[in-house]
């Protein structure tokens, strides 16, 4: 029986696998794609740590900035832990060989790492590797996992967790290659399955797969989710393709301007404020919005933001060195997720831990700071691995029976037999648009209620959706249907939390209630299914 089963092979999964293994655990990492395909590769701007390589900085300032941006909804102890661990986390990444951008300052080790300005930060705090920070961290972590002979099961899709008396016993998976349903028994499980941003299909920077598979499985297994209404919209995605243009473009000095060539917001405010300002320009003032980086010059752009220059040329036919970049805000990061305690253990499921975007460790609160997500996956990944191992030491060796396996086999068999009279691909687009329009940057109760009604109707119709491709192996029609079903399962938790929160706070902005109301709402909305 495996000690620690890690589900998800992005940065959070790989870090927790390395940590569990070095604690002494036997580890298996299971992912629905290959490890380096993860969303982590898309993190561009940087990873925060108060190294003070550029200007004076201190952990307390990092804590202060994070708390300020969280708008009262973070757990200050968790923030303290994450920010306090940040310099050591960078030391660790440095020791693995992450190729950070460097300074010419005659220093050694991490003190040569270049740091840049991000929105909401009081100083230049984000360590970076050009605009490929997440990619380079992810690949270095993967190579380190291979060095440490960590076992991987790729292309294996999570169906359900197995629990017994409120304790996790493993999970059931669909082997995408063979179509076989498998039970994997484990003493501890770490969920590192990513966020649910792709529910905003066609209105998100996220990868297709960020549909909240792990969060949905935790709900089904009796665990709790919280703060689901807090979804960060990134201010600058390319207008036509939704592709992310990093906040570092503004951190390095880029301006936001409207069609009248006017600046309308301090570009370095936190993302919620900048996203709202852009949204208002687009929809209330009927203005186009552009990111202007021309004044930075070709040399600096190619040095600091080479990926952005390429993406603009390819997807928008715009050369940022000479032209304005048309942008719009789209869904980017989900602050809410699996509710965890100080040990990152899931509320409601013992022995099950959650880390990264899938979890709500209450460090981002109502609005995440740029550069804190890569920090969370690495700093807390270590913690999750250690704690999962500690749980495994005393966990029962007795394997779960096949109840869940048989249920899931029947479930999949049923999908193959089900007649698909409603096209879920079409509904996926409808759901994405519905969320952007009615559960988006500016919310109001009538729209939220309409959205909830539509989502309930979609859920009722799910029985008539299904797959037309009945091929038993490598069936991506089936995987996409399961992903859509998971997103749809989370949809009402997001909307009903948004309805309940009659105030505006961070990324959740309600037109009827534009003020923050601490008396009534300085609290987390937690959702758990009871039998």
């Amino acid at each position: 029986m495996i000690d620690v089963l890690v589900i998800g092979s992005g940065g959070a999964g790989l870090t927790s696998a390395l940590s569990a293994k070095s604690s002494g655990a036997s580890v298996l990492v299971i992912g629905k794609t290959y490890p380096t395909n993860a969303q982590t590769s898309m993190a561009q701007g940087g990873i925060n740590a108060s190294l003070g390589n550029m200007e004076e900085d201190h952990i307390s300032l990092h804590i202060q900035d994070t708390i300020k941006s969280a708008k009262g909804l973070c757990d200050e102890d968790m923030v303290r832990q994450m920010c306090g661990d940040a310099p050591d986390t960078i030391e660790w990444l440095e020791s693995l060989g992450v190729p950070f951008s460097r300074l010419d300052n005659n220093q050694k080790g991490v003190h040569t790492i270049a740091q840049r300005q991000m929105g909401g930060a009081s100083t230049k705090r984000a360590c970076y590797a050009q605009d490929y920070t997440g990619l380079k961290i992810l690949h270095t972590l993967y190579e380190t996992c291979l060095k440490n002979e960590i076992k991987f099961l790729n292309e294996t899709y999570l169906l359900n967790l197995i629990t017994q008396d409120g304790t996790v016993k493993g999970a059931i998976f669909l082997d995408i290659l063979s179509g076989e349903i498998k039970q994997i028994n484990a003493k501890s499980v770490i969920m590192a399955t990513g966020g649910y941003g792709s529910i905003y299909h066609n209105y998100t920077t996220n990868s297709y797969g960020s549909c909240g598979d792990g969060i949905a499985s935790v709900l089904r297994a009796g665990g709790a989710v919280s703060d689901m209404e807090f979804i960060q919209f990134h201010p600058t995605a390319l207008k036509h393709s939704n592709i992310l243009i990093s906040e570092s473009a503004r951190g390095e000095g880029g301006y936001l301007i409207n069609g009248k060539n006017e600046r309308f917001i301090d570009e370095l405010k936190p993302r919620d404020e900048v996203a709202r300002a852009i949204f208002e320009q687009l929809h209330h003032h009927n203005q186009e919005v552009f990111l202007d980086v021309r004044h930075l010059g070709e040399e600096a752009l190619m040095e600091l933001l080479p990926q952005e220059v390429e993406l603009c040329k390819l997807h928008e036919h715009v050369d940022p060195i000479k032209e304005l970049i048309p942008v719009k805000p789209v869904a980017h990061y989900t602050m809410g997720g699996i509710d965890v305690d100080y040990a990152l253990e899931v509320e409601g499921i013992k022995g099950c831990f959650a880390v990264g975007e899938c979890s709500n460790a209450k460090v981002h609160g109502a609005n995440r700071l740029g550069g804190n997500s890569l920090l969370e996956i690495t700093a807390f990944g270590k913690l999750a691995g250690e704690n999962a191992y500690k749980h495994a030491v005393y966990a029962s060796n007795k394997e779960a029976d096949e109840t869940q396996l048989l249920k899931d086999k029947a479930f999949i068999k049923n999908i193959f037999e089900q007649q698909a009279t409603i096209d879920f691909y079409e509904k996926r687009e409808i759901l994405g648009k519905l969320f952007y329009k009615k559960v988006g940057i500016l919310r109001d109760n009538p729209s939220l209620h309409q959205a909830l009604d539509e989502v309930i109707a979609l859920s009722v119709n799910l029985k008539e959706m299904g797959i037309t491709d009945k091929h038993p192996t490598n069936n991506t029609n089936l995987i996409e249907f399961l992903e859509f079903s998971n997103a749809l399962l989370l949809a009402p938790t997001i909307i009903s939390s948004a309805i309940a929160r009659d105030e505006s706070r961070g990324a959740h902005y309600k037109i009827e209630f534009p003020e923050q109301n601490d008396n009534a709402f300085k609290k987390h909305i937690v959702i758990q299914w009871k039998d």
């Binding site: 794609t33 290959y34 380096t36 395909n37 993860a38 969303q39 590769s41 898309m42 440095e94 020791s95 693995l96 060989g97 190729p99 950070f100 951008s101 460097r102 300074l103 010419d104 220093q107 050694k108 080790g109 040569t112 590797a129 050009q130 490929y132 990619l135 380079k136 690949h139 993967y142 190579e143 380190t144 291979l146 060095k147 790729n154 290659l177 990868s207 297709y208 797969g209 393709s241 939704n242 592709i243 992310l244 990926q307 390429e310 993406l311 390819l314 997807h315 096209d423 691909y425 079409e426 996926r428 797959i467 037309t468 491709d469 091929h471 192996t473 490598n474 069936n475 991506t476 029609n477």
Partner: protein, 238 residues
């Protein structure tokens, strides 16, 4: 416009008609799958050239589907030298296993004093997204399926020049068999890399380091086999 996709079940090209406007191949494939044929199988992720999932071949050339603008009459096929799972979806287990065989990681860390110039030494190489385009384009695999291949050798190069690596020789030791000397320096890897990485150059540089560390080109040694021994080894260090 019309495009042709190689389907694994029938081993033939299926024609698909798509809207006549500029779009990425990935958008076209997603549209076909969701609106015309749910059974069309391919892999994709980020849509922005960084997750490495959607490499395939268009008219015989490796591209990322998300970064390629589809053209009328394009012929779309899966990557070469990878077992085809279904349609355009391939099994990357074997190609990824070359990373372990190459030991492409930091062997022994030492603290170093880095400069901006040092960053530049590995900046391009570490842009690798493991899409496997170079592996598919590499003609060596037609004759040697055990070749470590362009992306793993580029990764080896990245660690070999990293000042933090205390055991550079270990990096070099691991790339002698089925490694740097098996490359034909044809440059196909370099020409197809969507991130502009020059694996051919990295391999050439690794050969130089190998020679400095006392290794020699085995084919060169073979050519000289049987010639009289003059007591002078041209590959020996001084």
């Amino acid at each position: 416009m019309e495009i042709f996709i190689l389907r694994s079940e029938t081993q033939s090209y299926n024609a698909y008609t798509i809207e006549n406007k500029e779009t990425t191949l990935l958008n076209a494939l997603t549209q076909i799958k969701s609106k015309q044929d749910n059974s069309l199988t391919f892999s994709a992720g980020c849509r922005s050239s960084v997750c490495g999932t959607c490499a395939m071949r268009i008219n015989g050339r490796e591209v990322l589907a998300c970064a390629y603008k589809v053209q009328n009459n394009d012929k779309i096929e899966p990557l070469n030298y990878h077992p085809i799972l279904r349609d355009l979806k391939v099994d990357k287990t074997k190609s990824l296993s070359t990373i372990s065989k190459t030991n492409a990681w930091l062997h022994q860390f030492q603290e170093a004093s880095h400069t901006h110039q040092d960053e530049k030494l590995t900046e391009k190489q570490s842009d690798c997204i493991l899409c496997s385009a170079c592996y598919s384009a590499c003609p060596v695999y037609a004759v040697n399926p055990d070749f470590l291949g362009p992306f793993s050798l580029t990764k080896a190069y990245r660690y070999s020049v990293d000042k933090r690596e205390r055991e550079t020789k270990k990096v070099i030791d691991a790339i002698q068999v089925n490694g740097v000397w098996d490359c034909t320096l044809c440059g196909e890897c370099t020409s197809v890399c969507p991130k502009g990485i020059d694996s051919k150059m990295d391999i050439t540089l690794l050969r130089g380091t190998s020679v400095q560390l006392g290794y020699d080109d085995p084919s060169f040694a073979t050519q000289n086999f049987g010639t009289p021994d003059f007591g002078f080894d041209p590959n020996a260090g001084f």
